[in-house]
């Protein structure tokens, strides 16, 4: 079945419909998901679309928007005696303001790359004398996995440093800030958890069509076609084109689990700034598992982007990676300067990879 979602003829047919429908209009559509960017770039969807329909990547990579001062804080923690920090692979090399987790490890810190939060729980059970701090990163897709383990009753020597974030407040933030967009492709996997409802108010308020799309080329072009048609017709509904994985009400167990474990707080997004009600803090009842409280971690107020880095503009869809003076010159996946060049879901890293294969 998968091959049909990649059928070039089908995808091409939809792309030519998009060209027909969008004639005489200039459209800018944003997606907020690293995996969407991967599909768009890997399958050359931008090249198939007419020039007047522009697809830009928003802040859809959780690693890229994690503040440098938080990376510094957990890196310092990893270097303390009796501590181990667990985290997912793509944040390992991201530069903080002062250091990265990989540098902390090179300086003798105990940093462990894990596949699942369940691995960290297992480590805590096996190493009773060690404090295991999980750097819990990710949007609504990942946060329920952390929450489920906290609610289940994690070992006493386990705690989390939560930098979990919510996507709809970031979309709202960009629209409110007046970033010039005609519609959103809503993130597929985040939507499996949150469903359709959280986008509805926003679509109506800002009069912007939104479509939940899957990750195959056909999913994406159908999503883009939907937005183009809505712009032309002057409508702004939220449509679910990923019904095979996204239910209207989302994943109810995951939503309940999230709500039991976390409360919403303001959060800093690297390169963007403070976004109200976009972060997740453990509820009072579970504060024993909050590493920041447990170990008195102070996160510095100041967050800096590396000098000359344009990740902030890239994350807001205001600059294409190739327009950054550092892109492909001093900043490459081997020697990344900005966070968007590090993560496999970072817009710069994806564009760089496929630009090289194309040549």
């Amino acid at each position: 079945m998968l091959s049909q979602f990649r059928d070039r003829e089908l995808v091409g047919r939809v792309a030519s419909e998009i060209a027909k429908a969008s004639k005489g209009k200039r459209l800018k559509i944003m997606h907020v998901c690293g995996t969407h960017e991967w599909t768009i770039t890997h399958f050359g969807i931008r090249d198939m679309l007419p020039e007047n329909v522009q697809i830009v990547a928003g802040p859809g990579c959780p690693v890229c928007v994690t503040p440098g001062n938080e990376i510094d804080a957990v890196s310092e923690l990893a270097m303390m005696k009796g501590m181990a920090v667990t985290t997912f692979g793509d944040v390992f090399r991201v530069p903080g303001n002062r250091m990265s987790l990989s540098e902390a490890k090179a300086s003798g810190g105990d940093v462990r790359v894990i596949y699942s939060v369940a691995d960290a729980i297992k480590m805590a059970k096996e190493e009773e004398g060690k404090e295991i701090v999980h750097f819990s990163i990710g949007f609504e897709t990942t946060a329920p996995t952390t929450a489920v383990e906290i609610l289940r009753g994690a070992p006493e020597n386990f705690s989390i440093f939560s930098t979990h974030k919510l996507i709809p407040p970031a979309m709202d933030f960009l629209l409110r800030a007046g970033v010039n967009l005609d519609g959103f492709i809503c993130p597929g996997h985040v939507s499996t958890i949150i469903g359709v409802k959280p986008y509805r108010g926003m679509a109506a308020k800002y009069r912007k069509p939104m479509v939940i799309a899957g990750f195959e080329p056909l999913d994406l072009v159908l999503g883009i076609r939907n937005i183009v048609r809505q712009v032309v017709a002057g409508t702004y509904s939220v449509d679910n084109e990923y019904k095979r994985a996204v239910r209207d009400g989302g994943n109810e167990i995951a939503l309940q689990t999230l709500d039991k474990a976390f409360e919403v707080r303001d959060a800093y997004w690297r390169g963007i700034g403070k976004i109200p009600a976009s972060g997740m803090l453990l509820r009072r009842k579970y504060r024993d598992f909050d590493a920041a409280l447990k170990f008195g971690i102070e996160v510095g107020k100041e967050d800096r982007m590396p000098a000359g880095c344009s990740c902030g503009e890239v994350l807001k869809g205001m600059m294409a990676p190739e327009e950054c003076p550092l892109f492909g010159r001093s900043c490459t996946p081997e020697h990344p300067i900005g966070p968007c060049m590090v993560s496999i879901e970072g817009t710069c890293a994806i564009v760089y990879k496929f630009r090289r294969t194309k040549r």
């Binding site: 691995d119 949007f139 056909l218 019904k243 167990i253």
Partner: protein
């Protein structure tokens, strides 16, 4: 980070499942999809070791069927 991979459920033991992703067997938690009636042979999306949703094959088939019909109709017209 938000990557989720479709996997086929091979075996279920309580909350744990054995799933197959591209020929490789892995363990996954069904804790977050306990109300979705996941059974052996179903496809689920796995994210960091947890199933986050069951994939509805009928829905997947229906979107493709619609497009097959559209294309068939267009081809018929141009003949």
């Amino acid at each position: 980070m938000c990557l989720a991979i479709p996997a086929k459920v091979i075996k279920i033991e309580g909350e744990r499942a054995e799933v197959e992703i591209g020929g490789i067997r892995k363990e996954a938690s069904l804790a977050l999809v306990a109300d979705q009636g996941v059974g052996v042979g179903d496809y689920v999306l796995i994210h960091t070791g947890y199933a986050i949703t069951k994939i509805d094959e009928e829905e997947a088939e229906s979107i493709l069927e619609t497009w097959r019909q559209v294309m068939a109709a267009e081809k018929g017209e141009s003949l």
